[in-house]
């Protein structure tokens, strides 16, 4: 429990809470960015520098900006967000709490197992640029390339389904 861990964890938790508690969508986005900052700091404090950096570049720097872009445009007029319309599904709240509880139980259980079951720790060099690169481009080169195909299919799909060309 180093001070860095405490600060970063507090940031992450505060951000996560902010996401679900704020009424203004843009504030939620900002809170999520805060959460990512905390996570990145956690990674870095665990010597997984590359993971931390990538967390920032990809999630905070690219994906959340896109979120901000879209949400910012949708709420550009700052219309009050509809909140009091009630729950669309009956028993929505109890059910979601039950689901979340089950999930927490499961995850907590697996954490306990990981703690007491004597799982092997992460290998040395985990999360550094070199190890990451080796895994990505040597052992996992096939999944890596397949991901490229997945993305390209998505791009083709966007152009085919909503592009200017009329089918």
């Amino acid at each position: 429990m180093t001070p860095v861990f405490l600060v970063a964890a507090a940031l992450a938790v505060a951000g996560a809470l902010g996401v679900i508690l704020s009424r203004q969508p843009v504030h939620s986005v900002l809170a999520l960015v805060l959460n990512f900052l905390g996570l990145a700091a956690l990674y870095i404090s665990m010597d997984a520098e590359f993971l931390g950096v990538v967390q920032l570049i990809i999630y905070a720097g690219a994906i959340m900006v896109l979120f901000l872009f879209v949400i910012g445009l949708l709420t550009a007029r700052k219309d009050p967000v509809e909140r009091e319309a009630g729950e669309p599904l009956p028993l929505q709240r109890p059910l979601s709490i039950a689901a979340a509880g089950t999930l927490a139980l499961l995850l907590g259980g697996s954490l306990l197992v990981a703690r007491f079951g004597g799982r092997p720790g992460v290998p040395t060099g985990f999360g550094t640029v070199k190890e990451f690169g080796r895994h990505l481009l040597v052992t996992h080169v096939l999944p890596f390339e397949l991901t490229a195909f997945v993305l390209m299919v998505a791009v083709v799909g966007v152009i085919v389904l909503v592009g200017r060309k009329q089918a």
Partner: protein
């Protein structure tokens, strides 16, 4: 043909079939930009599939690629891989062939994209069948699913196609998430994504978590193969999607998903503590799929929708084999593999007939089949034979497929399930007969139904295969059962 392959790096040889397909897909994608005439690109796609089959033939010859894992343990060379990849390529080839006349008529602006997406989807499915690493299995699933979502929505101006794409996408994305969640728990329990290692490490895993993960994985795959009660997206997706695309859905993606199910459950989750559990779960899914699929199909008036429910019931039949595979792996999995081939070969002809109707500007309602025997007797008799195969009456391939599943079920002690399967086959006569009655006993004024050479080829191939593979099924089933014999052992 004396070509010495022993000097070729097996890593290259095993990746050659998907590699050829990927290269052709990309080349077609680029040529689309520069070519005014689009029809030959469909031919080029077909050539890609055929060349990929040729590459597969080279790779699968004894001694070319020693059994084992390649590319960082990502791709497996065994009979299972060769068999399933061949089946998938055949399915893709048949789909491209029966789409050739339809696509220029209905999708004039996105002709080439159609073939590209079919090729990309097939590429993903090949990796689903060829890998023993859940990373690659999942990525292959995603690639094929994404391409499928887009294919379902290609008719941009048809609201039903939009609905099909949206429903398929939302359900599929949910299924992927559920599946991934299950797989990630498995990874957390074992620290590996490589199925044989997972199998070894699972022994120490706590059972409750393991069962939770297993349920998630079953539910995820259940969506993908449209087994009841996870089938609700299927009828709408099949009905709304462009007809050849629905045909594609009923043939290829499901076969690949079944391959992944067999891999994950027989190689990764086959420790005794959980085998019984998933076996029973699959047996229950099997019973519900057969009953729901067949009983609902009886009430359908649209043939595409009817075929969707029919495919749900066939998923139920296949699940008999999967459930049996827990207790009798070779027989059960062999029966599943054989059934996949028989189902694809039979379905190709039926969907070709539906495409032919749409080619003449007609619909796919029951009523559209009226008097087909007058309009094109050869097609009507072919369809009759194909329906007979789907029902499972000898001497067609469908009979042998069902017979092997039945045998596997009995051997594994699922006699009740096997009997239920026989009863359901009898029920299915009802809705197939409805089409047959319309074809032979109703009169119509409509002109002759022309098929075009590529559709004729598909129907002829389908009919031929139904007879030949059925009568000559013993080498195929031997190969299929041997395929599992080599799995992971």
């Amino acid at each position: 043909m004396p070509i010495d392959l022993s000097s070729v790096n097996p890593n290259l040889l095993i990746i050659l079939p998907p590699g050829v397909l990927a290269v052709f897909a990309l080349v077609v994608l680029v040529l689309d930009l520069y070519s005014q005439e689009k029809r030959w690109l469909a031919g080029l796609s077909l050539v890609g599939v055929l060349l990929s089959l040729v590459a597969l033939w080279f790779a699968s010859r004894p001694g070319a690629v020693p059994p084992g894992d390649y590319f960082g343990r990502m791709v497996t060379a065994d009979h299972f891989t060769f068999y399933m990849v061949a089946v998938l390529l055949v399915a893709a080839g048949l789909v491209i062939l029966f789409s050739m006349d339809w696509v220029p008529r209905r999708l004039p602006k996105v002709q080439v994209e159609y073939y590209e997406l079919v090729l990309f989807a097939t590429l993903g499915m090949m990796f689903m069948a060829a890998s023993r690493d859940v990373t690659l299995i999942y990525l292959g699933l995603e690639l094929s699913s994404q391409a499928s979502y887009i294919l379902a929505g290609l008719l941009r101006n048809d609201p039903r196609s939009n609905e099909a794409a949206l429903k398929y996408f939302l359900n599929g994305a949910l299924a992927s998430a559920v599946l991934l969640f299950g797989l990630s728990i498995l990874y957390g329990l074992t620290g590996t994504t490589y199925l044989p290692e997972m199998l070894v490490a699972l022994g120490q895993a706590p059972l409750p978590l393991l069962v939770t993960a297993m349920v998630f994985v079953i539910a995820g795959f259940g969506f993908k193969v449209a087994a009841a009660p996870f089938h609700l997206w299927a009828p709408d997706a099949y009905e709304g999607a462009p007809t050849p695309v629905s045909g594609f859905f009923s043939m290829a993606p499901k076969a690949a998903a079944w391959a992944a199910v067999l891999r994950v459950f027989l190689e990764g989750l086959s420790i005794p503590q959980v085998m019984d559990k998933w076996s029973v779960l699959y047996a229950v899914l099997s019973a519900s799929s057969m009953l729901i699929g067949n009983l609902t199909a009886l009430w359908q008036t649209n043939v595409k929708r009817m075929m969707a429910y029919s495919s749900v019931s066939h998923a139920g039949y296949i699940l008999v084999g999967v459930a049996a595979a827990a207790r009798a792996p070779e027989v059960g999995a062999g029966a599943v593999l054989f059934y996949l081939l028989s189902y694809i070969l039979t379905n190709a002809g039926i969907w070709a007939a539906l495409v032919a109707l749409e080619n003449q500007g007609e619909g796919t309602e029951m009523a559209d089949f009226r008097g087909l025997a007058q309009r094109n007797p050869a097609l009507a008799w072919s369809l009759l034979l194909l329906f007979v195969s789907l029902i499972g009456i000898p001497p067609t391939v469908g009979f042998f497929g069902k017979f092997f599943l039945f045998r596997a079920g009995v051997q594994a002690g699922y006699v009740w399930l096997a009997v239920l399967m026989a009863i359901n086959s009898a029920i299915s006569v009802g809705y197939y007969y409805a089409v047959v009655r319309n074809m032979f006993f109703e009169k119509t004024e409509k002109p002759r139904l022309e098929l075009g050479s590529s559709l004729q080829a598909v129907v002829a191939l389908s009919v031929l295969a139904v007879l030949v593979v059925g009568l000559g099924s013993s080498p195929v089933i031997q190969y299929a059962e041997a395929a599992l014999g080599l799995l992971g052992r």
